[in-house]
Symmetry: D3
Subunit: 308 residues, 6 copies
């Protein structure tokens, strides 16, 4: 069960309202790398986890991320507080309000017109948060790696946001949130490596002949060798089709009735490679409009006259 304390985990002190900056901050409120995504990722893992250590860690961190969602959402609310009064009370002239709404040069107009100055669960482009951002799949060796990556990403987005503002209070609170991602990443790393073995994930072994092969699928100037495609880990192979030694062509067995239907479909919809039919595009061509003069000669001998 959750409980709430009306004090934030970290005090938010905003120097002045700034709806454009508020808009950027939404990236960590309702954006893909933001705190709702983090909280949902760990919370859903918690619910299905049975390992006592991971389970406890997951809910500790999920709960902290909810508390961070509150911190970043509070920053957004403070930065928009003036706008909220403006849009609700209609006390500016229309021209001033229009300018206030569009002046930031980003998507803050959505916050104001649609959300009335409140923090909305969108990213800085106005895109609603979606659970498609949550990559939990219910396997700890995967989910912990996903969490490690997610913390790293969140750290960087906070860093970018910090670089965009000189409001000392905002910067300090962002700094706290950024720091906690560093800490959480380390917890998830410890949890991953305290489960041994954790690579390859799952139970089924790979096919030995392909699990340490690197295929050079892109050729040309720029081919580079390094530990990611070198001995001793990898054998370096040039790309080739049908690495199994087969035909590279698909096969399927069907019952006779299905085969007949497939054949019937093929006949009904076959194309005639010998034809040169008049086309709709040709019906719509005009002279001198773009390099398509060639078809004209051909249409003196259409394979089938239109509707004929």
């Amino acid at each position: 069960m959750f409980a709430h304390n009306k004090r934030l985990q970290y005090t938010v002190r905003v120097s002045e309202t700034n709806p454009g900056l508020a808009n950027l901050m939404l990236e960590q409120f309702g954006g893909p790398q933001g705190e709702l995504a983090a909280a949902c990722r760990y919370f859903t893992q918690y619910l299905a986890e049975d390992d006592p250590g991971r389970k406890d860690m997951l809910i500790d961190i999920a709960t902290e991320e909810l508390s961070h969602l509150e911190v970043i959402g509070t920053i957004v609310a403070m930065l928009n507080k003036g706008c909220k009064g403006q849009i609700s009370e209609g006390a500016l002239s229309e021209a001033e309000l229009y300018k206030s709404i569009n002046g930031a040069g980003n998507d803050s107009h959505v916050t104001q017109v649609l959300y009335g100055g409140g923090p909305a669960l969108t990213n800085s482009g106005g895109v609603p948060w979606t659970a498609a951002y949550v990559d939990t799949i219910g396997d700890p060796s995967c989910d912990l790696r996903s969490n490690i990556a997610a913390e790293a990403r969140a750290k960087i987005i906070y860093e970018r946001l910090m670089n965009c503002t000189d409001d000392a209070g905002v910067k300090e609170a962002l700094g706290f949130l950024m720091t906690r991602e560093i800490s959480h990443q380390q917890s998830f790393e410890k949890a991953l490596y305290s489960m041994q073995p954790n690579f390859p994930p799952g139970k089924l072994p790979g096919m030995k002949q392909f699990s340490n092969v690197y295929f050079n699928m892109s050729s040309g100037e720029g081919d580079t060798r390094g530990p990611w495609n070198n001995e001793p880990t990898f054998e370096y192979h040039e790309a080739q089709p049908a690495v199994d030694g087969g035909s590279g062509l698909p096969e399927v067995h069907m019952g006779a009735h299905d085969s007949d239907l497939v054949e019937q479909l093929a006949m009904r919809t076959r194309s005639d490679p010998q034809s040169d039919p008049t086309t709709g595009a040709e019906l719509g061509m005009s002279q001198g409009n773009g390099g398509t003069a060639k078809p004209k000669a051909k249409t003196t001998t259409p394979r089938r006259p239109p509707n004929g």
Copy 2:
């Protein structure tokens, strides 16, 4: 520039058509952990990457993932081939076709009615693929970790799919695809660690006092200690608000005009905690319908008579 060879990277041999199994396979075609997501993830990183080694590796693997998209999509097409004939030619009785479409007990009806038996870029639940699955953010220490996690997840989904089929050809091709995820994960790991330092990601350091702290946000039976919250990496703290030592309450400065508007808004929309207003719910209550008998007495002294 891409080029294509009509032979698959791995030969696909399907024993018999099976639309229900085809539906499950869509998970790795147009699902969040599938091959389109993988190809898009690495391809977008490739385009913005300047490091020669990573750039080459990213396009090699992106190109291979496109080739895997072709393999899994071919499996789907083969498994649905009979259905495609059935739905296109209308040659079964209506009752048989209805049964064929719904019989698998999963979402294969979408494949047949909407997509005509072809592989669609959806997951096994019929949800269209979205770029929200792609977590590229343009920082190599993050993106490589995201790639490592993505490969791990894809490996597991293939493992689950392999456990669901005894079609030897399908199983073998899935095994190849699964194995390549193991190999790719190792490449991304090598690339990550050949960039030093890679932790913490980015340039800004964390606040020292919070980067190795673990907050015990969830209390009660089940609290567990382990390397993820223990010395030497972590100091273990009980949860507390306002860890900065401040009030935990937000502040913002506004200009006088904005302050006036905010105050005006507050006055206009204030609630009256002393009232006990009659509500719409009370207008709609009836006797004996669910534990809501209490309000009745109260309404003899409404704070404001309805419309009075």
Copy 3:
């Protein structure tokens, strides 16, 4: 700041695992009327709210909804627990596992293949949760009405779910969750009516001549009168265009240069109503295939010869 207690708000006792039932339960976990939507609705309102009473109420209820999200998610996890073992350990035969995954006849295959038996933030159809479900707009007279409606909807979905299961423990926990929606609805009703006036919402008055008019836009048998379109509240009018007394046609002023461009565009793309052009469809017609024999005669005198 949030904190968590490892005990649930209501004890969950599940009689036996049942992945099909788990799938239905997802409706209240990650569905549009579910607990995540509720928590997010009230939490975002809380962040921007300044009225002390509403602010406190919103966070109390938001926190409880998070706790309900935990209860319903726990039900899902328990119902799927057997499946989680099956899909992870691969210990059934392929045919048995395939049957286990598809047997429920609903979308539980997504839970198992993609989410490994864990509760995912989707609805029962596998659609990922989206913040598009959250209708907060930052005005209390609206948001409270939205909350009232949302609680009513959630109550009904729980009622439907209760009707679908005879697992006593599941039913009891669902009953608790359903009951709390009744209670929450009453709180939001009280809050709405303790803010006076609350209708019409906002500040701008309507145009008097149209604010109590009912337009009969649909004619024919079935027209019914009642308080929703009757005196004394409403004047009943038959539908008519241009109720302002104007032309009903749009007008806009443009500068001369823009007008010229618009005219140029119109000329460039004008259609010729006097023509009877041969069309692509006619090029593709065949005899005896579906009631489209008429065009043939016409094409003996095409207005413009193809490409001529």
Copy 4:
């Protein structure tokens, strides 16, 4: 069956083209609180409704909302009319056109580049309309409340838009649309209360012991009492887990085979709380980069040597 009259329900007179204003107007065309959402909400309810009075009312209002969709869409088209010529004819210099497209400081560039100056079913942030906005669930006591809330929200968005423009014709037409939301809300209110009882929604009663309880889930300065959590409607309780008097812990019964698999899974993926494993993060650390110096000492005694 629908029919259309080429005159609008309300005459649209736009003073001058203004693509930035057009962009804001999209909020009520393809936005969550806009006219398409309204029309779809009532139309879907109409189709399934059997009560003669509600059924008639729903289609009357649905039809009017479609007519409003036409009015707001016409406003958008008029405001963009100049841009449509510019983008189609390419008659400005590139620099002028670039400026025209980006100058509004909001998302009007999407309207112009992607939609060619036409009204698109997106909100003002460019997000495509989704049926996720439609909260119809097929129960009249819920759907009418949803409709009431939706009308209230739409009224406010129109009010905000009116505050942003001094174009008299646009403002007048918006005023009409806003007014009609007031009228519609009243119809839905009358319809709700002419169905008795309507609270609680549905048939199943709540559990008496929990239907009039208010849980104080958020503690600290700011706790406020009012009719929403006071006697006589509510009993005020402090938050507590396991309000049913049980353990607060989940239980589920599984068959022996499933239990074995779950145990096997747990063993295979258990974490070792006694370990202090070297982690990937530690492999990527460098000196002096952010408060993470501690792990160094530890690694002199790794629990398991890497790959050892």
Copy 5:
């Protein structure tokens, strides 16, 4: 199998970085008419196609579209290259970086804050690409028409983008991409018309009495006649309901038990058209606030007293 060559299909030469222009270019990278949509459309058709000619053409063009995706993505990457350095290195002052991020007046802030200057699979409004853009349905007479339309649309979006930039290198590369759409459209046209018949699509004929009828559903000034609604192709009919000659009303047969339930539901939720209930809106009205004074008189005779 795909392979890659490190040289682009067309050389990209960008005069100077320009993040605002980059943002517009995203329309053809991750937008609905862009290259990913094109590649996915043709690739999915390829996988299910059995006609040798179409199959070969589809993969040729799909592969070329992937190569175009690379070209347009490279343009985006080059235009953002300076920004990528700025946002990653944090070397500008905060005010300069904030201005750089928001200065373009479009959605380039998303590219920078969320994607670190890299090309993301979104459109120019920041909306993630979705497979909902792909309209493949598995019938060649439909899919080829969809492809023709898609190529036409892509041609126009490129034309609009070309009109917005005077960067000669960008313009030239866009011109190449635009030209290839013209070529591809012609290929799809030839393929469509080399399959005879191709109209109407599919096998089932239409009902003769309705397949060449045009219904005049919209009346009033502006009714226009032309080949699209004229003889010889069409009979022009005024709109009328129940064109089948029936009642125009729906019917369904239900078993007795279902009928009883439906009747029970109707009774439980019936509205009372004779009532004039007090409503929630009336509880919230105040004097002098917007044309809603009428209800007051009525409430002296409520049909049912509140809670009475």
Copy 6:
């Protein structure tokens, strides 16, 4: 302005309720090829269209599609009518209701649990309708082609649905709807070709050297020639990079400061191709688990000792 007549355009007679069939029908209600998409496509085009003939045609057909939306939605409602009673009244035993909800083997459980038996704007897979389905771009030569393709697709989906049911009344109404798509396609064809020229779309000509070239991007057995890649329309070229004769490599000019930052970023994040770093994967490997034994030898000479 729209008006409504309570009689349907075509009488709907359903033999018996059938929720599974209802689920399939949703494809044409809220699916990508369904009637809402059609109505929205033509209606948005109508609003921005200035050509009198096309404008009239577009609103005639848009209005008819709305009327078709009503017909298909009514079919869904009738087919679900029994279920609606069941789910609302809770009068079946739980086991019976559970079976009724899941028995169809498709997504009808969503209709019942979430939508209460009413028609919802989703496709048959439960995916909410999105305006991403609407491909209007505001150019008539494109939009008409999109409309032609859309009508063709809708025709086929109706054909597939007709093949799935032997309910005579449903089949007849579907037949009417299917037929009208044939008619509409012909109208759009006539409108397209009555605008001359209509190919290539737009104003800008293509580059002559590339507008009639076909690139053979896919090699291998299966290369096929036909009118889509043959003389006289096309020159057939083998794929080659840098068809412009340049380097095929991208270039961009940056200012000195930006160049410095980019260089700084490159140095900070460079990978070391000479290293063979120990990786996280190696920390997690165990013996005998899947073809990854090779790294062991290497780690005896790590380039950098872990944390050393």
